[in-house]
């Protein structure tokens, strides 16, 4: 009746996960109880859960990402502290648990931390920068988000019910085959990532269509903002790469569930094929994460240097160059697997070449700052920290791209330090820069600068204190994923890395305090005009937070910096543009389709993990019924009357008029 499910699967004998999950469960129950008792549920359901507004979905993505970053970070703290304690000692995490922790850490950080963060910012900003009212498929967007949330939920359920994979964040066979991983851990991984992956693929399709087919009148490809360009490149990569992940995980699933022989050791299976296929997705995935971050840095550096982006066209070319070449380097993840010297050399060279695109970007950012009036606000600090950190990470990457060097460094902590260097220094710093930069746009008030700067410095110092020792210890021969070790030469470095983790933790705490303090002081931090940073792209032409329809009238775009030219004209003539002729606006109606669909996906995923076949059928039927009900809707849109549009726009215009009257900066 319940498949493999029984009371035995709950780890009552392991205090650590039980206490952790009890605390989390209590917190969730507490929040839910508060929501229902205080009567907030109708508001949440109406305004957030069923919302198809790209801005709301973006905020929910970002919230999910922040929560999952905390979860993944607690895993990181456990690993560092375990290693600090496990010199010639067993430490406090048994091997079985330690293996689950590092697998969960990687899976959560990439799929449920970094991805939702980047996609959340894309959701919030891209339609605003394109000067349009929503993405191409708003309800599909909501489905995407809730499917991602389903994946995150399944991974976290594995903490209490059953176990998680012990295979690392990419489940290489034969270890991940039933013979060596008979438990449900790998199944949790497979279904969580598969469901979230479908959500990501739909996002990719949605954003390619949005960016290529929905732009404000007059906005040609070469007048799109840099963030839109990098989002386009990332979305194209999603469309081209995520189906490979889907197929690869499906093959492993068939091996595990039905005894197929794709990657097994017997009957002709080929486990190296898994490694090839997973990295044919995995390497583009790296650029799916970092390209939007590059876009964020471009926006931030240009805004806070008060200059247009240097070398816009070369930036576009570099982005598309990276987009294509990212599909030609996957083999550098397994130089040691015996493809032969010629193949290794070809991929080593391609890997070194891809650094050229990033090099172009670094120089462009430096020349953007050169001669500018630089304001060192928090987003700019994250960007500067990125430029230094990422260059170091890039250089260790080029070092690893040399096959003979890779044979020494493969699977060592040097490699771990390298990819954390580029993912933290690139993706995470970018996400935090975007988070502080666009927070006022999403909520109408800025984040506290003091706490933000403190968080930046603590995170930066904590990062170096943690990962420079790991580079060193990797060169000394320490391999990754060690539950305990007994080489005295490594010990001091591992201790320093553990101490670095404490500094990073302080950075995380500062970031949380920043949010709390900012919410409490929101009146003082209010963004009245909608343009708190003297911005240059179209999102700053809207009020903060923008109304559901974004623009009262779609802006007419001329040139590369549409909002900057509008603003400069206003400053020149000392008056705003003429009031547009307000018309009623049609917007898509909210829909619970995404939420209900994800509910059935959760049921189905859970049932598949535990082999509860009747429940699988029920979930599938429910999901199909949800789609049919949605397809049967008669009124997809509602109308916002012209008077309402006028009221909202006039309020913002008067705020902007006041700001213009008191403007004392340089005039063109």
């Amino acid at each position: 009746m319940l498949g493999k499910l029984s009371w035995d699967v709950i780890p009552f004998d392991q205090p650590l996960p039980m206490i952790a999950s009890a605390v989390v469960a209590l917190a969730i129950l507490g929040v839910l109880a508060w929501v229902f008792l205080a009567g907030h549920f109708p508001y949440l359901w109406r305004e957030w859960i069923t919302s198809v507004d790209h801005k709301r979905i973006g905020v929910m993505y970002t919230l999910l990402a922040l929560l999952m970053l905390l979860r993944g970070f607690s895993d990181a703290v456990m690993m560092r502290s375990q290693q600090a304690l496990a010199f010639q000692a067993p430490g406090y995490l048994p091997p079985d648990h330690f293996n689950q922790v590092f697998s969960a850490h990687g899976t959560i950080m990439i799929f449920f931390g970094a991805m939702p963060f980047v996609i959340g910012l894309m959701n919030l900003v891209v339609p605003l920068q394109l000067g349009v009212r929503d993405v191409a498929f708003p309800t599909l967007n909501s489905v995407s988000f809730w499917l991602t949330a389903t994946g995150a939920l399944l991974v976290n359920i594995s903490l209490v019910i059953g176990e998680f994979a012990r295979t690392g964040w990419l489940p290489y066979p034969p270890l991940s085959e039933t013979a060596y991983s008979p438990g449900v851990g790998v199944d949790y991984y497979l279904w969580a990532v598969q469901i979230a992956g479908v959500g990501t693929l739909l996002t990719g399709i949605n954003f390619v269509t949005t960016i290529l087919k929905m732009r404000a009148p007059g906005m040609s490809y070469l007048s799109m903002s840099m963030f839109c360009w990098t989002s386009l490149a990332a979305s194209l990569l999603i469309v081209a790469a995520f189906p490979i992940l889907t197929a690869t995980l499906a093959m492993l699933t068939l091996d595990r569930y039905f005894g197929f022989h794709f990657f097994t050791n017997e009957a002709g299976g080929n486990m190296l094929m898994f490694v090839n296929l997973i990295w044919a997705w995995g390497h583009p995935e790296v650029y799916i994460l970092v390209l939007p971050a590059f876009g964020i840095f471009s926006e931030v550096i240009s805004t806070f240097s008060s200059k247009p982006l240097f070398g816009y066209r070369s930036m576009v070319a570099a982005t598309l160059f990276i987009c294509i070449v990212s599909f030609m380097v996957w083999l550098h993840h397994f130089f040691t697997m015996g493809a032969g010297a010629d193949v290794n050399a070809a991929f080593g060279i391609a890997t070194s070449i891809i650094a050229v695109g990033t090099g172009v970007k670094i120089y462009n950012w430096m020349f953007t700052m050169y001669g500018g009036r630089i304001r060192f606000a928090t987003p700019m600090l994250w960007s500067l920290g990125f430029m230094v950190t990422f260059v170091i990470g890039g250089m260790t990457g080029v070092l690893l791209a040399v096959p003979p060097a890779d044979f020494l460094l493969h699977n060592s902590l040097f490699l771990v330090a390298h990819f954390h260097n580029v993912i933290i220094g690139g993706v995470l710093f970018g996400a935090f820069a975007g988070y502080t930069y666009w927070f006022p746009k999403a909520f109408g008030f800025r984040l506290h600068e003091g706490w933000g700067k403190l968080a930046f410095w603590l995170t930066l110092i904590g990062f170096y204190a943690t990962f420079v020792p790991l580079y060193t210890v990797g060169l000394l021969g320490m391999t990754r994923r060690m539950q305990h070790f007994d080489v005295p030469a490594w010990y001091p470095w591992v201790l320093v890395a553990g101490a670095g983790m404490l500094i990073t933790t302080a950075g995380v705490v500062a970031q949380i305090i920043q949010l709390v303090v900012s919410i409490r002081q929101r009146a003082a931090l209010r963004d009245v005009t909608g343009d708190p940073w003297d911005g240059r792209s179209l999102e700053w032409a809207t009020p903060s937070p923008p109304p559901v329809f974004n623009f009262a009238a779609l802006p007419h775009v001329e040139g590369e910096e549409p909002y900057w030219s509008i603003k400069q004209r206003a400053r020149e003539q000392n008056r705003l543009r003429d009031e547009p002729e307000y018309e009623p606006i049609e917007m898509p109606r909210n829909s619970p389709t995404g939420f209900i669909c994800a509910f059935f996906a959760t049921v189905m995923g859970f049932a598949l993990i535990w082999h509860i076949w009747w429940m699988v059928a029920l979930g599938a039927l429910g999901a199909f019924a949800t789609f049919v009900v949605f397809a049967w809707r008669d009124i997809p849109e509602y109308v916002i009357p012209a008077a309402e549009v006028a009221r909202i726009d006039r309020a913002n215009r008067s705020a902007r008029r006041e700001a213009l009257a008191t403007y004392t900066g340089p005039r063109p």
Binding site: T209, M214, D255
Partner: protein, 217 residues
Amino acid sequence: MTAIDVRERDPYHLGHRGHGHAPGHGDGGPAPIRIVVGYGFWIFLLSDIVMFSAFFAAYAVLAGKTAGGPSGAELFDLRNVAIETAALLLSSFTCGLASLAVTARRSSWFYVAMALTFVLGASFILLELREFAHMIARDAGPTRSAFLSAFFTLVGCHGLHVTAGLLWLLTMMAQIFAKGFRDDILRRFMCFSLFWHALDIIWVALFTVVYLLGASR
């Protein structure tokens, strides 16, 4: 520019308005919804084809790995496959007829063409299932060898797509019945027919790579 303007200047909703400028290409603002829906669905189809290409690649790697079991030459019945192919290609033709019926707003022809499409698609699935059953009965199931794992997955994945298409086809007929030739329903039908034809394209590749090459091996 208002929606009426676009319709007058662009009667076939092709997105082009002369002078090489097209909405969504910078000049005229967001493209009409029909263009956006069709474009998005094409992107989805491309992603689906990428997924199939991963299964094709896996099949190509494993095609010779029979592990002492039967090979394609011993298993494939080209006559059966030829009938399958004929059924599927004909179903694409009848699906095309359904599109014409939609353009002409002739609901009776639409139902007839769609019913024919369903019958042809369903017979394709039945023939495929019969082939699978025969193979499993003679101990040539997917667990026998890596070659057969890859074969059943690749062909089965296409079969699952056709089955999903049949489900969609029935839903589509019910929608036209309930809602008539409404704009949003027409857009959905356009996506359905794109999907159905794309399955044909994949079958042509599959027929060639798996069956024709396999039978000669």
